[in-house]
Amino acid sequence: MTRLPSGGRIDRTAHLKVTFDGRMLPAFQGDTLASAMLAEGVCVVGRSFKYHRPRGVFSAGVEEPGAMVHLRHGDRREPNVRATVTEAFDGLVATGQNAWPDVRFDIGAVSNVLSPFLSAGFYYKTFIGPLKDSTKFWMLCETFIRKAAGMGRGSYLSDPDRYEKRTLFCDVLVVGGGAAGLSAALAAGRAGADVVLVEQDTALGGAILSDPVGGASDKWLTAVRAELEALSNVRILTRTTAIGAYDGDTFALIERVSDHLAVPEAHEVRQTYWQVHAPNCVMATGALERPLVFGGNDKPGVMLAGALRTYLHRYAVVPGQKIILATNNDSPYQTAIDLAGIGASVTVVDLRAQVADDLIARLQEAGVALRLGQGVVQATGWQTIKAAKIAPVDENGRANGAPTKIPADLIAISGGWAPVVHLWSQRFGRPVYSSDGDVFVAPDDPNCPIQPAGLSAAAASIEGVIAQGFDKGQAAAAASGATSPTGKAPESFETGAFWQANHARQWAILTASGKPKGKAFVDFQHDVKLSDIDQAHLEGYISVEHLKRYSTLGMATDQGKTSNINALSRLADLRSRPMAEVGTTTFRPPFTPVAMGAMVGHEHGRHFRPTRLTPIHHWHVEQNAELTEAGAWMRPWYYPKAGEDLQQAYIREAAHVRTHVGMIDVSTLGKIAVQGPDAAEFLNRIYVNGWKTLAIGRLRYGVMLREDGFVMDDGATARLGENDYFMSTTTANAAKVLSKMEFLLQTAWRDLRVHVTSVTDQWAAIAVAGPNARSLLSDVSDADLSKDALPNNHFTQARIDGVDVRIHRMSYSGELAYEVYVPAGYGQHVWQVIHDAGPPHNLLPYGTESMGALRIEKGHVAGPEIEGRTTLKDLGLEGFASSKKPFVGSVLRKRPVLEDPARPILVGLEIEGKTGAKPGALLFAETGKTEGHGEGWVSSTTYSPALGRYIAMGLLKNGAQRNGELVRIVDFVGDLTLTAKVVSHHFFDPEGVRQNG
C-alpha cells in the first residue's frame, strides 16, 4: 500500500469500487484511475505500441503516453483512455490493451527482443522496395503488423449515449483555470466583460491542486474562486477542454458532462460539444514537463517529477520508498523536500554542477541526498524499477566517470518545462524558440486575439504568472469594450525563483561514446528511441516534418506532448544548429482525443439531414406504399398488392396507366415563381428555347444549360399572367436552378426587373395519366377539359371540391395526362377526392418506379441522362435550341470537343432475352474484345410492359448511324453480358398520338 494515512484532495468517506483487469482497486472520490492504480501498487498498466514493453503511469495529466486502458465494457467500451485523466467512479471497470493474455504476461513482448530490426522506417524499408509486387505483400503484412502493433480496440456496437452541440458567445474566453487563468478571468470579470473560463480538470486550480492542502496557494485559490463564482458575468466550465481554435475567433470545447459517472443520468448527455465565439482569448494553458532521456526511462516506476508531486499532495499516494529525483532544473526540489517530510528516502541527482546555495541548504535540512553534476545513465528492472545506474556527466550529458548502482523503486524525472501553445499554434502557425528557458512560445503580439499568459508564456515567477494573467484579462476585456475598474491583482502566494530560471540544456544522459545505455525513449507512446532519431538523421531526414513522419514521432494519440521538444533538441544537436533554426512542427486540433460521438452530436441516423415529406405523404404511408429516397424527399416507390415484389408491382402499375388511369404524387418537383416585367426576357436567357411568344394560359417544356454548355435541367414553365410565370424543375435540381437564377439576377443581370421565389413547398402536385384521365378529372372538377378547350401544353384554373386548383395539361408518361396543382394545405384532400372518384374510371395510384418505366418507354431524359457530362446534342435535344438568341451556355456548347460527331449520343436499346440490364453497364460492339471503357454506357433501364420486353436507354458512340445494329451490354460488376438492338429511344408512340388525343 502506498496511500498515505492522511492528506490529499480525496474524500476518504466515499469508497468507490474500481477494477483493473479484474483486480479490485480501493479508490476514493477524487481519485483518478491512475492514482487508484498507484495506491494499490499496480505497476504495469499497458504495453507499448511497437515493442510491447511494459509501461506504467508516467504522468498525472493529459500528456500521458503509457497508462492507457479500455474503459467500461460492451457498447460503452472506449479504447486508449488515459488512466491519468479518468476520474474514479463507483463501478469503474478497466482492462489492459495491446497485450495478450494480459499486460503483465504479454506474448507480443517478443518484439522487444526483435527491436534491432524494428527501427525508424522499418515498415517502409522491409515491405516496400526489393520484392516483386511489393505493394500486395506489404498490404498482407500490414494486416498482421496492425494487429501486433497497436492500441486499444473500439467497440463495434452502436454508442448508447447521447451527445449535444451548443453554441456560446462571449467577450473573453479564458482557457485554463490555474493561477494565470483565474487571474485573467478575475480581471475580465471585474471589468464587466462576458467571460467564459474553461478548465479541463475536475476543479479550478491548475498546479495549485498539486500543492499541499491548506497551504498559502490553497487560500489564494479559495478567495479568487469565491469571487469568480459570485460574478454573474463569469461562466465557469470545468471538465471542459478547449480542443481547437479556428478561423473567425471560433473555439471548440468538449465538456465531459457524464464521463465521471458509470452511465449518464436519465435524459443527460454524455458530452457537450461547445462552439464558442470569442473575439478575445487568454490562453492560460500552463506547461508540460519534459522527460529526461536515458536507458530504460520508459519502465514502470519512472515518472515525471511534477506528476509525483501531484500524486503526493492531491491523491496522498507515494508510489515508492527509495526515490530518485533526476533533474536539470530547480522545479523538483520542493517535491524532494516534501517527500522527505513524509519519511521517504530521497536522492536528488542533478545534471547541473552547481545549484543555488539556499536550495542545497534546504535539502540538507530535510535529509535529502544530493548528487550534483550526475545523471541517471540507466534504470534497471523489467516490470518494476530495481536500481539506477548513476554517473558523473559533462556539460553535454555524457558520462565521464564510472557509474554507481544505487537501489531505487521510483525514478522521478524533470527535463524542464514546455509551454502549452497548442491553441495559439493551431491558428497562427509555428511558435518561436526562446533561448531564455529553452522553450517555444507564441511571439509577442499585442493585437493577437489569442494572448498567452502564465506558464504558457514562460512567465518567470508565480508573481509574474498572476500579474500577467491579470493584465491580459484586463486587456481582453477592454478590447471588447468592458472597462469597469478592475482594482489590483490578487497578491501572490509565493515569491522568489521559479522553474525555468536555472534550467540547464542537457536532457539526454549518454555514455562516453555519446550513445545511451540501453533503450532510451523519446516518444513513449510510439516507441521512438533516441537512436531512431539519430538513424533518421543519418538517412537524411533533417526537416522536423520529415523526421516526424519517418519515425512516427509525435504522431500517437498523445501527439508528442512529452516528446516533441526533446526530439527537436536532439535533431538540433545532430545538425549542430540552434533550436531556433531547426524549429518545431505545428499543432493541429484537437488538443486531446475526442469521442466521435461528440463531433457527431445529434446528426446521425434520421437526424443526419432533414427528411422532406410531401403534403400527401401520410396517405401513401396509410396505403402501405413502399417509399424511396429522392434527395431529401421520401416518395412512394410502388404500391404493392398482396405478395407483390417491386418488379411485379411496377410492371402492373405502368401497364395500368397505359390502359386505364393512374395518379402519382409529383409534389417534389421544384416550383419557382418567376415574376416581373422582364420575366420573358429572363426565361429567354435561362432556357435554350424561346419564350417571348408564350401566351398566357399556355405552358412549354424547356431545357437549361450550365455556363460551360452542358445540360443542367429541364422542366415546364407556365405563363400565369402578363408578368407571372410558374416554372417547374426536376426534383433533384430545384435548389441548384433557383440559386443559379438568383445569382444571375443579383450580379450580371441586375438590370432585369425579375424576382424569383421558391414555391415548392406551397404547392402539392398530382399527375393524372392514362386514357381515362380526362373523364376522371371532368367528374371531380368544374373545368372543361375537352380536347378543344384544353389542348396539350395549356392550363386552366379549376375547382375541385371547392378548392381552387390549376390543371396543367402535359404528359411525362406519353399518355393523355394532367398535372393538378393544389395549395399544399389542401393537397391530401384533393388527392383523396380524385382517388374517391376513381373506381368508375379504374384509377390506381402509381409510384416512381413505374413512372420511370413509362418515361423510358417514351424516351424522355431524366437524371441518369442529364448527369452533367451530356450536351443537347448528346441527348437529342438540339432541336429545342434557338438560333435567334443567346442563352446561358450558347457559346460554349459549340466548343469543338462538344461537337465531335464521335461523342456517344442517346439511343434506345431493345434487349434480347428475359434479363434486364444494369445502369452503368458498358456497351461494346457485337464482336471483338470487351476491353477498356467500351463505346458507351447504359443510363436507364426497365421492363417495358407496352413492348413486352426489357429496354434501356444509353449513350453510344456514333449512335445515330447504328440503328438496327446489335451491341453487347457488359456488366463487369455483375459479370453479365447481354445482347441488344440499337433503336430510337422513342420506343413507344413516337408521334405522340396518345398524349395529344
Binding site: D247, G248, T250, Q275, E707, E742, F743, Q746, P886, V891
Partner: protein
C-alpha cells in the same frame, strides 16, 4: 469557422452560406460570341495569396454577397450585397 459580416443579417457563420466562386471575373455580355471570353469567364481563375473577392450566398435569405477574404489568414475584410456591388 469563417464568420461573414452580412450587411443585412450581421455576423453569421459560414455554415449559413454557400460558396459561389470567384467574384473578380466578369460575366461577358449576353451578346458576346467569342468563345475565349466565355472560356475565361467559366474556367480561368487566379489563385491569389492575400485578399480575394468571392461570391457567397446566404442559404435562407437568398441574397448573394461579394466577400473580400484574405486567402492566407481567412480573415473576412468586408462583405457587400452583390446587387449593390460596384467592382
Amino acid at each position: 469557422m469563417i464568420r461573414i459580416e452580412c450587411p443585412i443579417l450581421g455576423p453569421r457563420p459560414e455554415t449559413e452560406f454557400v460558396y459561389g466562386g470567384d467574384a473578380t471575373v466578369k460575366r461577358p455580355d449576353m451578346s458576346e460570341r467569342d468563345p475565349d471570353a466565355w472560356l475565361d469567364y467559366v474556367f480561368h481563375r487566379d489563385n491569389p495569396r492575400g485578399i480575394h473577392k468571392e461570391y457567397w450566398q446566404h442559404i435562407q435569405a437568398r441574397h448573394w454577397l461579394v466577400v473580400e477574404r484574405d486567402t492566407l489568414t481567412h480573415e473576412v475584410i468586408q462583405a457587400s450585397l452583390a446587387r449593390e456591388y460596384q467592382s
